[in-house]
């Protein structure tokens, strides 16, 4: 499921395991992936990010890479995460 974030210009994406736990997505155990808006007819791809602001790897260095708080509110409303997971992600912690 995706969420348009007009303010930040990206969409957030999250997957769940069947027991309600968030899946680790990347080599650094991230639990969220960012899918930037792609140009028309360009392949749409995403990459794992942490919920904390930081330095991005490689050619994305310098981007803040931090989803807005509202992304997690929308994920909660959509039933993708529960309140405990939302609050953990708001704190920049794993859920």
């Amino acid at each position: 499921m995706t969420f348009s974030m007009s303010a930040s210009g990206f969409t957030g994406f999250c997957r769940m395991l069947t027991n309600g736990e968030l899946r680790d997505l990347g080599t650094w155990r991230q639990q969220i992936a960012e899918f930037p808006r792609a140009r028309a007819r360009s392949p749409w791809h995403g990459y794992p990010i942490w919920s904390v602001r930081g330095f991005a790897p490689g050619n994305r260095r310098g981007q803040t890479m931090k989803p807005a708080k509202e992304v997690f509110v929308k994920m909660l409303a959509a039933g993708l995460i529960n309140e405990q997971q939302k609050r953990r992600l708001w704190n920049g912690k794993h859920a």
Binding site: W28, R29, R87, G92
Partner: protein, 367 residues
């Protein structure tokens, strides 16, 4: 558990629920100035209370310009550091200071601690460690300590400060990179970080086993709830790895005081009476079982307040446990059938060690 006891003039309840109107708690710790607590909120405010949770003042709003949830507060004389997933904030509480908010470092953090050498240490994940030594009457600066090559990077998720009487040692939870430790001599120059890990390990928290003593003993928590115990986090190459079947949920935090260990997972608090003492006294081997007392609840964080209180941040309240009472009540729990006796599954993984160089570079605050 349910009977209040007298402590001086006041009656102290061993368990107390604290709720605050217009203040969604994201972080809890001891008040550094008075008996009581400091709470951080989901929108970046601070609140100070007494030990019963009564507000001592209005909430403090100007702690983080990002308005993000506070995930750590640390104190040095006259200084506060407040961390969020967006920034690290330095607040000056010097008498007569023109403004409290002194510096903002635009780096998302997983928490913040203070060391006895007078530094704030901030785990920044893949970016490394931020080191700040605050100084009065000057522009603040910080030092970023991190690996410089792809294979020398470590995801630093939490950090503690230990000492063996001579040296100050920083010990880190490094997620898949395992546990890490380095001698800390200040913010300048190079540091050598020793890591120890095994395949599949995901270290999410670390704590001192003798927080009130000169000791490098530490416990680490794997995301699956596995506990790793080391009598010397700096030099130990084969720490003891224990898995208890009674522990359920995603591992969040591990804490130790009075020789006991507390785990927080997504499913509740797990109290291990005397587990730290038994490990450090060499009594954990053989057929002797370990008592585990599960306290089912749904929480987001947990901390210790002045070696006296266990503060569990839940979704709509903070629960305050008297750790002295818990420590002496283990036999009551057992008598009432609230404890599980388990033989831990001792894991014998193939530990791998690394030594990686951390280089320093100076950072200036924004603005």
């Amino acid at each position: 558990m349910s009977h209040p006891r007298r402590n001086g003039k006041s009656i102290v309840s061993p368990v107390r629920s604290m709720r605050f109107r217009d203040f969604e708690v994201s972080w809890a710790s001891a008040n550094p100035y008075l008996p009581g607590f400091c709470f951080g909120s989901a929108d970046g405010c601070l609140l100070f209370t007494d030990e019963e949770g009564t507000r001592l003042s209005d909430k403090i709003r100007e702690t983080s310009p990002s308005g993000e949830a506070i995930n750590g507060v640390a104190y040095l004389p006259m200084w506060f550091a407040v961390s969020t997933r967006a920034d690290v904030n330095l607040l000056n509480v010097l008498p007569g200071a023109s403004k409290a908010h002194t510096a903002v470092f635009p780096a998302g953090a997983h928490g913040v601690i203070a060391t006895r050498s007078g530094h704030f240490i901030v785990p920044l994940g893949r970016s490394g460690l931020l080191v700040v030594k605050p100084a009065a009457n000057t522009k603040q600066s910080a030092t970023l300590m991190s690996g410089t090559t792809p294979d020398s990077l470590l995801y630093i998720y939490s950090v503690i400060s230990l000492n063996d009487g001579d040296r100050e040692v920083l010990a880190c939870a490094g997620r898949a990179g395992g546990m890490a430790a380095m001698d800390f001599t200040g913010e300048d120059g190079e540091a050598r970080l020793s890591t120890i890990a095994f395949s599949g390990l995901d270290v999410v928290d670390i704590c001192a086993l003798r927080p009130d003593q000169a000791s490098l003993a530490a416990a680490a928590l794997d995301k699956s709830g596995t506990i790793v115990l080391s009598s010397n986090i700096r030099d130990d190459k084969r720490p003891l790895t224990l898995r208890f079947a009674a522990v359920d949920g995603i591992g969040y935090r591990v804490l130790s005081c009075r020789g006991d260990i507390y785990l927080l997972t997504s499913k509740g608090v797990y109290f291990f009476p005397k587990l730290a003492d038994r490990f450090l006294n060499g009594e954990l081997f053989g057929a002797v079982g370990t008592k585990v007392i599960p306290i089912p609840l749904q929480a987001i964080d947990m901390s210790l307040g002045q070696d006296r209180w266990l503060l569990v941040v839940m979704l709509d309240e903070v629960r305050r446990y008297d750790v002295q009472h818990l420590h002496h009540s283990a036999s009551d729990f057992i008598a009432r059938g609230k404890a599980v006796e388990q033989q831990p599954n001792t894991v014998s993984p193939r530990w791998k060690t690394r030594r990686i160089v951390q280089k320093s570079k100076q950072l200036l605050p924004s603005g």
